[in-house]
């Protein structure tokens, strides 16, 4: 008469939540299996190292985005900010190279972090003090940063001094005990991010603010401060990503970091963080960044589709991955 099966699994809230938390990793595993099936080279050490290393940029920025999003905001300016920070860093390093030699890199890196944090601060203050939708604010600053890099490069490109290339190169191409440096940096950023988010007061309050800002406010949490800080963290992450990025391409152009904001947000959401805030899955975010990078890699490795349709296939795979979430649940 009645479907007993439906009552049977005494699936308490707990185990259900656990499964959902696993979803991004399961999706990652699926994509990897797909990759291995499509092209045997996919699992080669070099390819895996390449993919993981280059996912570092999106992953690092996405760690910051996890903060912003879990506190109930959104930052669309990260891609342009990245270009702007990169441009400023290269200009500074080029200027200092004649006097400081390769030490200019350190100054440049420090500057990158500071400028990143400041850019984030500006975003954060406009959003919180101006009480404007973050979507609009960061869309505005996205245009602003993009215009600034275009202006700085006169519409062309800002290449790094030749003399700095060799000393700076290992930051992207080097490795530490066999682990590529960007991966090491990503790991540090994620660990720091996870610690802050899950183990500190600040992280706790971030999620509370995203879950219910009113409750947070009357609990004595300064919503303004928390949210502003998430933007600063986002800016710092952009700075760190810029530090790893420069040795790879050695130049900043007006198209640097274009559309990264969408990739970053996609990584965060695939990872299980809710766009409405109140939920942060920083490890999931990393899985999300890897999934995106692997899908792009597969598009290159496989020859199934017309080059014109690559974006379509990527779109389909992402939607399927999210649908898989639902069925896993």
């Amino acid at each position: 008469m009645t479907t007993v099966s439906d009552i049977a699994p005494p699936a308490g809230g707990l185990s259900r939540i656990r499964w959902m938390d696993m979803a991004p990793f399961i999706a990652l595993a699926l994509v990897i299996v797909l990759g291995a099936l499509l092209n045997p080279n996919f699992l080669s050490a070099t390819n895996i190292a390449n993919v993981v290393t280059r996912s570092a940029f999106i992953a690092i920025i996405a760690v910051g985005a996890t903060f912003v999003i879990s506190s109930g905001c959104l930052d669309l300016s990260v891609g342009s900010m990245m270009a702007f920070v990169t441009g400023l860093m290269i200009l500074t390093m080029n200027k200092l190279a004649p006097t400081l030699g390769s030490n200019a890199i350190f100054v440049g890196a420090g500057l990158g972090l500071i400028v990143g944090a400041l850019c984030g601060l500006v975003n954060g203050l406009i959003v919180t003090l101006g009480r404007i939708e973050p979507f609009i604010v960061t869309l505005g600053t996205m245009g602003i940063f993009r215009a600034l890099i275009t202006w700085m490069s006169n519409g062309g490109s800002i290449p790094m001094e030749r003399s700095l290339r060799e000393p700076y190169r290992p930051v992207y191409f080097g490795d530490l005990f066999g682990v590529p440096i960007p991966v090491v940096i990503t790991a540090l950023v994620v660990l720091a991010g996870a610690f802050i988010l899950y183990r500190t007061k600040y992280g706790r309050r971030c999620i509370a603010v995203g879950s219910n800002a009113e409750v947070a406010r009357f609990s004595g949490v300064s919503v303004t401060r928390i949210r502003t800080l998430t933007f600063v963290i986002q800016g710092l992450c952009v700075g760190i990503a810029a530090i790893c990025y420069i040795p790879r391409l050695g130049a900043a152009t007006p198209t640097t970091g274009q559309l990264w904001e969408l990739q970053v947000i996609t990584a965060v959401v695939i990872g299980g963080t809710a766009l409405r805030g109140g939920k942060a899955r920083i490890w999931g975010t990393i899985a999300g960044a890897l999934i995106l990078e692997i899908i792009a890699n597969l598009m290159v490795l496989s020859n199934m589709v017309s080059e014109y349709l690559v974006a379509a296939v990527q779109g389909v795979i992402i939607i399927l991955a999210m649908l898989a979430h639902r069925f896993i649940r």
Binding site: G13, F195, I207, N212, V215, R217, S219, G220, G278
Partner: protein, 549 residues
């Protein structure tokens, strides 16, 4: 003025009239918090004015008044949630201003809201310690916080755990979490705004004990409730508000429950409950055969007949809400068949039910009942849009008429019909919710906690209203955790326990005792044998039922 004088003539003069300017009389301990001439206006709308009130250490001070009288507003003024537009606050002899709730909490004044205000995504412990997390070094000390949370929860008889996510808890548990939050740290003034509205049975008892414990420790407690028996049992002094003004403060011993009620409403009150109609024998309107709801009611069969009030009793968490939400298609459920007026329903959904003539009024008016950001008219007509408008087009002018009619018929106290639903007082929201579902002109009305947060005068109106419906041949199912209400209103009572219907009571069998007995001990009263047998029959397949008792 004359009215007030009249009423004051009936009973002892108040200890302090609204205009009392002098601080507490000499010899009394200095007040923990004192409001002088405090008031609040929203633009041209004055919702509270000129209230002068002492709250003394070691007393329970009850605030009573009709829905919309301004009780919650007063509490929010005292606790920094809302800034006053007139008057001042004093702690001891020092004037204080609470720019926000956090400042009030730092000064030892905390409010337990009438509506649940918690971060749904966080765990119970995380909510309790939000803004004052315990740390070890830079790291949060979850172990300590969970431990402390478990203690506080245990002390107020809450059944949830510190690691439960608040969003997944039933309403009553969430209310207990709110209370736990307020009691986490030592306070000087604790304000409860209708804490028991969503609680029942043991939980109420436990809470009252907690309040007494606070008093014994010298904490000043402000306590709002529409349950006058509670007020009488608990309060040392009582302040009555009416229409945003203070009527006066009395010692509890000076007032009977009837006095309180009459001071609240400003007129004499008749009987609370209408006369019963007796068991109905007409052909059933609604027949449910064995449906089971995921994680809720295991198996339930019941019939509802026109011309009767069917009460559904049980402890909180016994699965009453789940059962009916499952019936309505609001949560996954299996089984059937379900017949309405002799016909099987094609589809289990709110709109299909509504078209057939059955509506369900939720217990959770804030998250499931009303659109707090929307105007009153939009809320009123939302459910009945198809019923009221034959075509796809709305009739704005008629909406205004419907609203005016509902305001009158259900005595919704609004200072302007242009307010948003969230700006109504809690009780008036409940009345709006009732008006909303009634607009669909249903034949069977399932009301989950019909008088949650409703003042005594309005309660009697609502009971009268239910009575009229039933006498007009409709059927009303009342799910209530308030035993007197269940007993006073129902022609027949079904009792649920741990997700199962365990007893059916009718006529004289319906007493508070028999309901409690069936709800807790399981041995069914007369007439419950069939349900009992069914329970035994299904227990084996279904495993242990969910829900705590």
């Amino acid at each position: 003025m004359t009215l007030r004088a009249d009423l004051q003539g009936l009973t002892p003069a108040p200890l302090s009239a609204a205009r009392a300017a002098a601080p507490a009389e000499p010899g009394a301990p200095p007040p923990a918090l004192r409001a002088e001439g405090i008031g609040k206006s929203y633009g041209a709308i004055t919702v509270l004015s000129d209230v002068t009130l002492d709250i003394r250490p070691g007393e329970v001070h009850a605030i009573i008044g009709e829905n919309g009288a301004g009780k919650s507003t007063l509490m929010k003024l005292l606790s920094g949630h809302v800034l006053p537009t007139e008057g001042r606050l004093l702690q001891g002899v020092r004037e204080v201003a609470f720019p926000d709730a956090a400042a009030a909490e730092r000064a030892g004044v905390v409010l337990v809201h009438q509506e649940i205000l918690l971060a749904a995504d966080l765990t119970v412990a995380e909510n309790l310690f939000l803004g004052r997390e315990l740390t070890r070094g830079v790291s949060v000390d979850d172990r300590a916080m969970n431990r402390r949370t478990a203690e506080v929860l245990a002390s107020i008889g809450a059944k949830c755990g510190p690691r439960d996510r608040v969003g997944s808890l039933p309403l009553a548990q969430r209310q207990l979490v709110q209370i736990a939050r307020a009691l986490l740290e030592p306070r000087r003034v604790v304000i409860f705004d209708e804490p028991t509205a969503v609680l029942a049975g043991d939980e109420v008892t436990a809470l009252l004990d907690v309040v007494r414990g606070l008093r014994a420790r010298g904490v000043a407690v402000l306590y709002i409730s529409h349950r006058l028996d509670e007020v009488e049992a608990l309060a040392d002094r009582i302040t009555v508000l009416r229409d945003g003004r203070m009527i006066g403060t009395w010692e509890t011993a000076q007032l009977s429950q009837r006095d309180m009620a009459e001071k609240m409403v400003g007129r004499a009150l008749g009987h609370l409950y209408p006369a019963k109609r007796g068991a109905a024998s007409a052909a059933p309107l609604l027949e449910i055969e064995e449906i089971s709801v995921d994680h809720g009611a295991v198996l339930a069969s019941l019939v509802v007949r026109p011309g009767e009030v069917l009460g559904i009793g049980g402890m909180i968490g016994s699965g009453r809400t789940e059962l009916f939400e499952g019936l309505l298609g609001l949560r996954p459920a299996q089984g059937g068949p379900i017949r309405f007026d002799g016909r099987a329903l094609p589809r289990r959904s709110v709109s299909a039910w509504q078209a057939a003539g059955l509506v369900y009024l939720t217990e959770d008016r804030k998250d499931r009942g009303l659109l707090l950001e929307e105007p009153l008219a939009a809320n009123l007509t939302l459910q009945a849009l198809d019923h009221l408008n034959p075509g796809p087009v709305l009739a704005p002018r008629r909406e205004a008429e419907w609203l005016a009619k509902a305001i009158e018929e259900y005595d919704i106290r609004v200072r302007s019909p242009l307010l948003r639903a969230g700006q109504l007082s809690g009780g008036n929201q409940q009345k709006l919710l009732l008006a909303k579902v009634m607009l669909t002109d249903p034949r069977v009305i399932i009301i989950d906690e019909p008088t949650r947060g409703i003042d005594i005068g309005n309660k009697s109106q609502i009971y009268g209203f239910i009575d009229r419906l039933v006498r007009a041949g409709k059927a009303v199912v009342v799910i209530s955790s308030e035993l007197p209400e269940l007993v006073g209103l129902s022609d027949r009572v079904l009792v649920m326990r741990a997700g199962r219907l365990v007893a059916e009571l009718s006529g004289d069998e319906i007493t508070e005792k028999s309901v409690i007995y069936a709800a807790t001990s399981g041995a069914a009263a007369r007439g419950g044998a069939a349900a009992q047998a069914r329970e035994n029959h299904t227990a084996a397949q279904a495993g242990t039922g969910q829900g705590a008792v």
